[in-house]
């Protein structure tokens, strides 16, 4: 029996959907546009000066090397973790899955301070690359795990029957099919590495983002900072379209979806102990270090500065309220932005779709800090009423993390059988009603995953809040930062503790929802 592909290359995109997606793409690309305008306001000479500064080329090399070192490591960890959890009889799989996802939701600046306190060697390039690799591999883990679940077990069985062993089957049959998911994940990690700033706040390592930050803070040269951002915009575009070229038209995962047999899991046998040790080491580095440091900071606070920690706790509640409100607001807005884009990307094909979908990734073209400055600048000049408002911060956080919401919603939408919407249409529902009555309830796990992902990222964001937070407010992140810059981390510990508890809860929801869809095949 033949299954109609979900994507109909010849279908025309409904005008309403196209219009909404264009608006979203423009909104998300707004900071990039403003930055380009700002760069030119200083005149061509200012741009030339900024780019020709001796440090620029060094930092560019630093940044690219960082992405080049961190991305493959994240890829290997993500793919290996997903394969062992999804395809082997690893004991306590649910627990491993949770722990493997957890690093994604731990705020990077907390991890950064934790690594920095471990010692000098980790404050340089290797520390920076390590933080990025060990904090972002869960993106690849999640995408690959979903793709693995979507593969037809018959393909692997056929390969085994043709005489391939488990290792050969993985490299010749499984891995090629994971290519779209893996490339997508590697792209997200690489882009993140390029513009990452929060992860390096406590390190001595300088990247492009830190230089831009310096231009802004020390030189207070907005056009200089904007000019430097040209590099990151350029690299981002190369990555975005490079990945699209590599991915090509391959979309293997969708061929065999629908009613699936349960996959057979491999016995680990003598590999059980080494595999558990390996995964345990990954988790020890990624989650263990920040949590161990947190405990150490707490113990310091009880021995040394109890009064100091106590004095700060009165800020704990309002900071939590602000952070949670900000996270929820941004998650809601990001989902509203991401849903039409995800629908477009799943149901339609063609150059227009590629451009609109890729445009949402432009929020990666700028360090968060630069994007925040751009929005703040634009608001103060053109829309003074929103300047310094909480709403502007919510909007900024939402557009920064929209690509992640698109990824999470898309992972679910791609698995919904097209015949379900067709049936609803034939039963008298308009396309919007069918969306509301069938697609949205089925895609609910995807919305939850998207919301949690954005919520966790917003909680862990520092630089955007530093620029756009209204004067009378503070978040868990800004309070952690403010208190950690004093003598000890003891005072910062309660804020980090709340952040990590929320992060773990988020990781749990994320792990249980990402890429899942309700289907008749569920037992």
């Amino acid at each position: 029996m033949r299954r109609r592909s979900l994507t109909n290359p010849f279908s025309t995109i409904p005008l309403e959907l196209l219009a909404v997606c264009i608006v979203v793409a423009i909104l998300v690309a707004l900071p990039v546009g403003i930055t380009v305008v700002q760069a030119f306001q200083g005149g061509i000479s200012a741009i030339r000066d900024a780019l020709s500064a001796s440090s620029s080329s060094t930092l560019l090399v630093h940044t690219v090397l960082l992405a080049a070192a961190a991305t493959p490591v994240a890829g290997v960890i993500g793919v290996a973790g997903a394969w062992f959890v999804e395809r082997t009889k690893l004991p306590f799989r649910q627990v491993w899955a949770l722990l493997l996802v957890a690093p994604l939701t731990v705020p990077l600046f907390v991890t950064s301070y934790a690594w920095a306190t471990l010692g000098q060697p980790l404050q340089g390039f290797w520390g920076a690359a390590g933080i990025v690799a060990f904090s972002y591999y869960p993106i690849i883990y999640l995408l690959v795990a979903v793709a693995l679940r979507g593969l037809d077990p018959a393909l692997e069985e056929t390969a085994r029957a043709l005489g391939l062993n488990a290792r050969q089957t993985f490299f010749r049959v499984v891995l090629p099919q994971l290519r779209p998911a893996l490339l997508g994940g590697l792209l997200l990690v690489a882009l993140d590495a390029l513009v990452e700033f929060d992860a390096f706040v406590a390190l001595k390592f300088q990247t492009f983002s830190s230089d831009i930050y310096a231009q802004y803070r020390l030189g207070f040269s907005i056009s200089g900072a904007a000019a430097l951002s040209f590099f990151s915009i350029l690299i981002c575009l190369v990555f975005l379209f490079g990945e699209a070229r590599l991915r090509g038209n391959a979309n293997y995962t969708r061929v065999s979806q629908g009613a699936r047999r349960a996959t057979t899991r491999y016995e680990l046998g003598k590999w059980l102990i080494p595999v558990m040790a390996g995964l345990g080491a990954v988790i020890a580095v990624s989650v263990g270090i920040p949590i161990a440091m947190l405990i150490k900071w707490f113990s310091e606070s009880t021995s040394a500065g109890v009064s100091m920690a106590a004095a700060n706790t009165k800020y704990l509640f309002p900071a939590s309220v602000t952070s949670i409100g900000l996270g929820l607001g941004a998650a809601l807005v990001a989902i509203l932005f991401a849903f039409p884009i995800a629908i477009l990307a799943v149901k339609h094909k063609g150059p227009v779709v590629t451009i609109l979908e890729r445009a949402t990734y432009l929020s990666f073209a700028l360090p968060d800090l630069v994007a925040a400055i751009a929005l703040s600048y634009a608001a103060s000049h053109w829309v003074p009423s929103v300047y310094g408002s909480f709403g502007l911060l919510v909007f900024a956080e939402a557009i920064l993390f929209t690509p992640f919401a698109v990824v999470a919603i898309r992972a679910t939408l791609g698995q919904i059988e097209p015949a379900l919407e067709d049936s609803a249409r034939a039963l008298g529902s308009s396309s919007l009603r069918a969306l509301w009555r069938v697609t949205m309830p089925l895609a609910r796990p995807g919305f939850v995953a998207a919301a949690v992902l954005v919520f966790a990222f917003v909680l862990g964001d520092l630089s955007t809040a530093q620029v756009l937070l209204p004067l009378n407010l503070y978040t868990l992140g800004t309070e952690f930062q403010a208190n950690s810059s004093t003598v000890a981390f003891a005072a910062a510990a309660p804020f980090a503790a709340v952040l990590i508890v929320l992060a773990m809860a988020a990781a749990y929801v994320l792990m249980s929802r990402f890429g899942k869809v309700r289907s008749v095949g569920d037992g």
Partner: protein, 344 residues
């Protein structure tokens, strides 16, 4: 219920012509089976009728309404009042059986409509099923619920897209009977799309054969089987023995003797098409040697070659308990009129 009338339909995807010059009339209250190999354009035709795609040429009428008109107005799928049963049922996994069946009813009737029970009744399912989830149903029950869901809003026509694929043989027969029964009780006009000859022949009042985007023959099951429009159709519908012959005045002369022919106006050299069940192992007639046989339970297909210099291969279908062994010489004779075609 309403008559379906497609006139001059054509559809291309890019440069690939998928359907062309297609005329089809499904009389009100009857079932027409669209039979075709994969890639023949069946699904495209179905999607044109439902309205998911629009025709490049031609019109589609449901009763007195033009629902699709190339270059003109096209009625949206949700306004066409068409029941659609997708492959494997496509039940909404987040809704119960009752909620699935009620999906197409007006909002006020969805909670507690007598129509839900009525529709379940039609497909032979008891009320106990109402509260169940789709994943608690067997494959055959899922198809029945899908049909109940399609019938509940009293559509003007029901379209069935390979509704029995993936069911095992006995469940298939049972589900097929339940579907035919439900459609007859409602008196609904229906179009069944399938690649299964037996399914098309046993269910359709008429069978329309689709080949490379064109309807090559629309006829009752018996005339399609016995009097196919050409040899390709003959082979597609069932097993066929083809022999050279000479026709004259309603009779054809071939290696199996002088036979009555259904196309009396043919004269001269022809190709004769005989169904294997017309060739019987008897005491008189033409001598043939048994090559081997394939046992199907109720019947046995016997492969033979004529015991003359030509050694022409033929097939016979035997319903006898004992079949001759390979190498045995038997006599074969043809019963009933045969079909003949001009030489290709």
């Amino acid at each position: 219920m309403a008559e379906l009338r497609c006139a001059g339909l054509a559809k291309s995807y890019g440069t690939r012509l998928v359907l062309s010059d297609l005329d089809l009339v499904v009389p009100a209250g009857t079932l027409t089976a669209i039979l075709g190999a994969s890639g023949s354009g069946k699904t495209t035709l179905l999607r044109l009728i439902i309205g998911f795609i629009t025709p490049d040429e031609g019109t589609i009428m449901l009763g007195d309404n033009v629902v699709a008109n190339a270059g003109g107005a096209n009625v949206a799928p949700d306004k066409r009042s068409i029941g659609y049963v997708a492959q494997e049922g496509a039940l909404f996994p987040h809704l119960t059986v009752a909620e699935n069946v009620a999906f197409g009813l007006p909002r006020a009737e969805r909670k507690s409509s007598a129509r839900i029970g009525e529709a379940l009744d039609l497909v032979g399912l008891s009320q106990e099923y109402a509260g169940r989830s789709p994943h608690e149903l067997s494959g055959g029950e899922q198809r029945r619920v899908a049909l109940a869901r399609a019938l509940a809003p009293r559509p003007r026509i029901v379209l069935l897209d390979e509704p029995f694929s993936g069911l095992d043989a006995s469940l298939r027969t049972e589900t097929r009977e339940a579907v035919v029964n439900a459609l007859a009780l409602e008196g609904t006009t229906a179009v069944l799309v399938t690649h299964d000859q037996a399914e098309a022949l046993s269910m359709g009042r008429e069978v329309a054969l689709l080949r490379a985007g064109r309807l090559v023959q629309t006829a009752t099951p018996t005339s399609l089987y016995r009097d196919p429009v050409d040899l390709d159709v003959a082979h597609f519908i069932g097993e066929a023995v083809v022999l050279p012959g000479t026709a004259s005045a309603g009779v054809v002369e071939c290696a199996l003797g002088r036979l009555d022919v259904r196309t009396p106006n043919l004269e001269g050299a022809v190709q004769v098409m005989i169904r294997p069940e017309q060739i019987q192992l008897t005491t008189g007639g033409v001598r043939a040697e048994v090559v081997d046989h394939v046992y199907y339970g109720p019947e046995t297909i016997v492969r033979l070659v004529l015991a003359d210099d030509s050694r022409t291969p033929i097939l016979a279908k035997s319903f006898a308990q004992d079949v001759p062994a390979a190498g045995e010489i038997v006599n074969v004779a043809v019963t009933g009129p045969v079909a003949a075609y001009p030489p290709q």
